[in-house]
């Protein structure tokens, strides 16, 4: 093995101190080497792969800085730190112009694809340090954080109008056509219930209270408008360039931005973050794009949707069906197979049965096959033909509105990823990344709903985006933790959960190692209102072989979101059944039910509540 040309890096010895300080000092030294050298190779003198890489750079006539980990005292520690920074445990570990290229194979691949040459040419020649594609929760969080860290950042955000022509402002799905408007419409529906309850609590008004869709929608849209404006303002304050154009990669490090009028501009950046999210899926049946709406359209619909068919059983489908029914509309949900796929199925069925008891019709094991317009109007009349998934049976029914909520597709197929070689999962369009959110192309990262196998939730995208910016441009090593992410489905009876579903827990830990504690409960406020006893339900799943650690938390009841959050924090801290037993409840709340769970599912004992 001939030794390639190159300076030997010298590491100054470091003083002893507390281990965290020593670690921090080491990290800084390594970052200094990465930032301070055009090519930085961490290798081992005897490693054949390392030699190949050194030879490659030698043949390119590129000077490298090389640190031989087997020849320095703290080589093992350096290697551990590198694995934290890059998520790569092995040597050689190569950086070119501050970009982590990878090991031997990745470097040779980059050489073949031309990426390596491109990376070598870099040198502050880019327009931006970072371009973020997509101005949703994750993208904005990442862009702002990078700007705070002093980087030159651009955000490209462009909303392609829905087939019905709906589009919206800056902020992405959550703000415009997701969490925010849906929670507000859910609140409107809850207020309908509150009005109903309030008579029992002594409030007096005429029984027939009508709901005005336009008043509600206008108020919600005004609020969203103020949020859009706020986002623009905060980007401006942080000197993030915001361009309302559609971004598409044209070559390495270069993106083409096309605006509404078709005007094109090109921008280059050292690093890219893909945060383009997802859009609702269509069925591909006759009449779907022409006549159906999706959640992209519903929240700004200028007229009351009237009698509505919701197709799908995702949380979006059930939430929309729930609040529409709560506002007094005639609502049917058409379900192909199961409710709330991926969620605990016992809970999912309870969510569904509560909805059914409160006026939502369910048409199970049916799929629509054709949508026909009978009458135009606001709303018009649509005829839906559906067939059974189990037999020849078909049904036909007329609705004013058909809302499709059959899933969402990643916006990854039309952004030129093929031009720079970013791999996507061809089946679902999702982008696979390592645990530092890096794609197969080293300078391209992805966050949010486009990620494969990660929860599709706003706070997750925000957390991932912030932490990514801090790792890329700051001194942090903290990675986004995708474990025990809590969430809540805002159906008429809210469902909050954190950790594993019962099915998943059984699959991982086996039934005999688990203990499930559960109970039905009756919120105090419901008693006087005379609302359903023995409907709200609480369940925890404990791992008997690990100190009865709580690995699944599930609650069906009012304010489930508010309740679940704190328990999620507790699960982060290793919550066990014993700790639940030792904690005192807050009386009278729903959350306190978890501090007095006594009945195990395996006991088969009755959990219906008779009194207080």
């Amino acid at each position: 093995m001939s030794s390639p040309p190159g300076r030997r890096a010298r590491l100054p010895s470091h003083g002893s101190g507390r281990s965290s300080e020593a670690r921090e000092a080491l990290r800084r030294r390594l970052q200094g080497l990465i930032d301070g050298n055009r090519v930085m190779i961490f290798s081992k003198s005897y490693c054949p792969h390392s030699s190949r890489v050194k030879e490659l750079f030698s043949s390119l006539g590129v000077e490298c800085n090389i640190l031989e980990l087997d020849q320095v005292d703290d080589g093992t520690k350096v290697q551990e730190m590198l694995s934290e920074i890059t998520n790569q445990k092995t040597v050689p570990n190569i950086f070119v112009n501050k970009v982590h290229v990878g090991g031997c194979d990745r470097t040779f691949q980059a050489h073949q694809s031309g990426l390596l040459q491109k990376l070598l040419q870099e040198d502050a020649a880019h327009d931006y340090d970072l371009i973020v594609i997509g101005g949703g929760s994750g993208g904005l969080a990442c862009a702002k954080e990078a700007a705070i860290l002093g980087k030159k950042v651009m955000v490209l955000d462009f909303v392609v109008p829905s087939p019905q022509g709906t589009s919206w402002g800056l902020g992405g799905t959550c703000v415009n056509v997701g969490c925010i408007p849906k929670k507000l419409m859910h609140q409107a529906a809850l207020l309908g219930q509150a009005l109903h309850d309030s008579r029992k609590f002594g409030w007096e008004y005429n029984k027939q209270v009508k709901h005005n869709w336009e008043t509600m929608t206008e108020a919600i849209q005004n609020y969203i408008g103020s949020l859009n404006w706020g986002y623009k303002l905060s980007l401006r304050e942080k000197a993030v360039a915001y361009v309302n154009s559609y971004g598409k990669f044209v070559e390495h490090h270069k993106i083409k931005a096309t605006d509404k009028k078709g005007q094109e501009s090109c921008y280059t950046a050292a690093k890219f973050v893909i945060a383009t999210g997802e859009r609702p899926r269509y069925l591909g049946i006759q009449g779907d794009k022409e006549y159906c709406i999706t959640s992209d359209d519903l929240f700004s619909l200028p007229y009351c949707p009237g009698k509505t068919l919701v197709v799908g059983a995702s949380y979006i489908a059930l939430e929309c069906a729930g609040f529409l029914a709560g506002l007094g509309l005639d609502v049917t949900v058409m379900v192909r197979s199961i409710l709330l796929r991926g969620f605990d199925q016992e809970m999912a069925e309870k969510v569904g049965s509560y909805m059914e008891q409160h006026g939502v019709k369910f048409l199970r094991k049916f799929v629509p096959v054709m949508i026909q317009q009978l009458e135009k109007g606001l709303p018009g009349k649509l005829k839906v033909l559906a067939k059974s998934t189990e037999g020849p049976e078909a049904v036909e029914e007329v609705y004013n509105t058909v809302l499709l909520a059959v899933g969402r597709d990643s916006c990854t197929r039309k952004i030129g990823l093929e031009n720079i070689g970013v791999k996507i999962n061809e089946k679902n369009g999702k982008i696979p990344v390592n645990d530092t959110e890096q794609t197969n192309v080293p300078y391209v990262y992805a966050i949010g709903d486009v990620l494969e196998g990660k929860p599709e939730l706003t706070p997750v995208a925000i957390q991932a985006g912030k932490l990514l910016a801090r790792r890329l441009f700051g001194t942090s090593l903290e990675k986004c933790d995708y474990i025990n992410v809590p969430t809540t489905v805002f159906t008429p009876l809210e469902y909050g959960c954190c950790g594993l579903s019962e099915e998943k827990a059984i699959e991982i830990y086996k039934k005999e190692n688990l203990e499930v504690y559960h109970t039905l409960f009756w919120p105090l406020e419901w008693t006087i209102a005379g609302r359903d006893n023995n409907t709200c339900y609480a369940k925890i799943i404990c791992n008997k072989s690990d100190h009865d650690r709580v690995i699944g938390f599930h609650i069906l009841g009012p304010n489930a979101g508010e309740i679940t959050q704190g328990f999620a924090a507790a699960m982060k801290c290793g919550l066990t059944k014993q700790l639940l037993n030792d904690t005192i409840g807050i009386h009278p709340t729903c959350g306190e039910v978890f501090t007095t769970l006594e009945t195990t599912k395996s006991s088969g004992l009755d959990i219906t509540q008779k009194g207080c």
Partner: protein, 426 residues
């Protein structure tokens, strides 16, 4: 009744959310009271049934000690029953105190023992005191539309975090409750028209003043029910100051076979769930072979004022007193609940603070949450604190969007930094 008041607020919100309700909507006290009372009666009945089911003998008699193993019970009609037992648990709780030195106080005033059982609306009400009982009652009375005044001698919510307490009061004041601060009543009398006239002294101005009310509610504190127990006959000692029964960590009094739990025991938080748990654990130790003691640290609680206040762990003052200002870091935020936006509600007092040790990993010492559903929000975090949560761990918890409780896991601004703690945007 707090819920009734909240519903009043929701009815006003409803218009903004598209419900066409003709405002204002009047409230009928009788209807509410009857519903609440029926529910309470059903609970009373439920408790009796439960006792019966478990074969616990229930005597509706007033008990006092004869000697250390014997109590004498007097029934309504005067009939006496002597009962003896190996173990005796005193759980007589407390009752509201009257300011007996004030003329007319007992004759014309009522307490929280009465308010929930009033058949007719209390009308224009003066609440005297600033305990949580006082503020909760004043809050719901205001909420159902009554003209309500609170007379405060010194500080509100003694024992609670004082910044939070001020915000609770500020919120009530901006939502229609009147406050008379640094005032103490001196006389209550009845006017010819039946109204009550109260005379008080304003200690700030030094002047006297009077006002007329339909109802005077005393909420100046509670006294333990120990006087009529003849505790001295059993040798059970009480605190000379509070009259509460002195107990050890096993809830035993100065007599090892006599125990005291709940509000009657010295130094215990006066909260239902603590009493329940203390009672259960005591029974398990006495008869179930258990040795588990009740842990009175980090007991969470919530004050159900119009804007609810939930807390667990130390107040900021207490944390500073124990650890010193330089070792305490307080993270805080003013936030706006999503539902408030469309309803055009004022969120000036929606505030959260987390009191932590300053030294990494910044152990959480206390959490204080002011906002809707504070009880529900606080419960889970109480668990977290029980698990020894650090600031870092709480921050690593992913939020649930959109909720109020997610603001807790997004607390980034420390008081020390002096930065604006107002949450903006998502």
């Amino acid at each position: 009744m707090h819920q009734a008041a909240l519903l009043g607020g929701l009815i006003r919100d409803a218009g903004h959310y598209g419900w066409e309700v003709a405002q204002p909507v009047p409230h009928d006290w009788r209807k509410m009271a009857e519903a609440v009372q029926n529910h309470v009666k059903s609970l009373n009945w439920g408790h009796r049934v439960q006792l019966q089911d478990r074969k616990v003998k229930y005597f509706n008699i007033k008990a006092s000690f004869v000697n250390e193993h014997t109590v004498c019970g007097v029934a309504k009609g005067g009939k006496e029953t002597l009962l003896s037992a190996d173990h005796i648990v005193i759980a007589t709780g407390g009752r509201p105190r009257y300011p007996t030195h004030i003329e007319g106080a007992l004759e014309y005033g009522i307490t929280s023992d009465d308010i929930f059982w009033l058949k007719d609306s209390p009308g224009k009400t003066l609440v005297v005191g600033a305990s949580y009982v006082a503020l909760e009652c004043a809050g719901f009375l205001t909420g159902i539309g009554l003209d309500t005044t609170v007379m405060v001698r010194s500080i509100p919510l003694r024992g609670f975090d004082q910044q939070m307490s001020s915000l609770v009061m500020e919120h009530m004041a901006t939502h229609g409750t009147r406050f008379l601060r640094s005032c103490t009543p001196s006389h209550v009398g009845r006017l010819p028209d039946g109204q009550l006239q109260v005379t008080w002294k304003d200690h700030t101005s030094g002047k006297g003043d009077t006002g007329t009310f339909d109802t005077i509610l005393w909420a100046i504190g509670r006294a333990p029910e120990t006087k009529s127990l003849n505790l001295e006959k059993a040798g059970v000692k009480t605190s000379p100051n509070s009259q509460k029964i002195l107990v050890d960590s096993r809830e035993a009094t100065s007599m090892p076979h006599i125990y005291a739990i709940g509000d009657v025991a010295e130094g215990r938080p006066e909260l239902t769930p603590t009493a329940i748990m203390a009672g259960k654990l005591l029974a398990q130790r006495l008869f179930g072979g258990s040795s588990d003691l009740m842990d009175y640290d980090n007991v969470p609680t919530t004050v159900f004022t119009p804007l609810e206040y939930g807390c667990v762990g130390l107040s900021e003052e207490e944390a500073v007193a124990r650890h010193g200002q330089e070792h305490v870091e307080v993270y805080h935020a003013y936030y706006k609940p999503l539902e408030f936006t469309v309803a055009e509600r004022d969120a000036s007092q929606c505030y959260i603070k987390m009191v932590c040790l300053r030294e990494p990993p910044q152990l959480v010492l206390g959490l204080h949450f002011l906002g809707p559903n504070a009880g529900e929000v606080t419960q889970g975090f109480a668990l977290g604190i029980k698990c020894g949560a650090s600031y870092v761990q709480v921050m690593q918890t992913v939020g649930i969007h959109p909720t109020c409780s997610e603001e807790v896991v997004r607390l980034r601004i420390s008081k020390r930094s002096g930065l604006d703690p107002t949450v903006t945007g998502c």
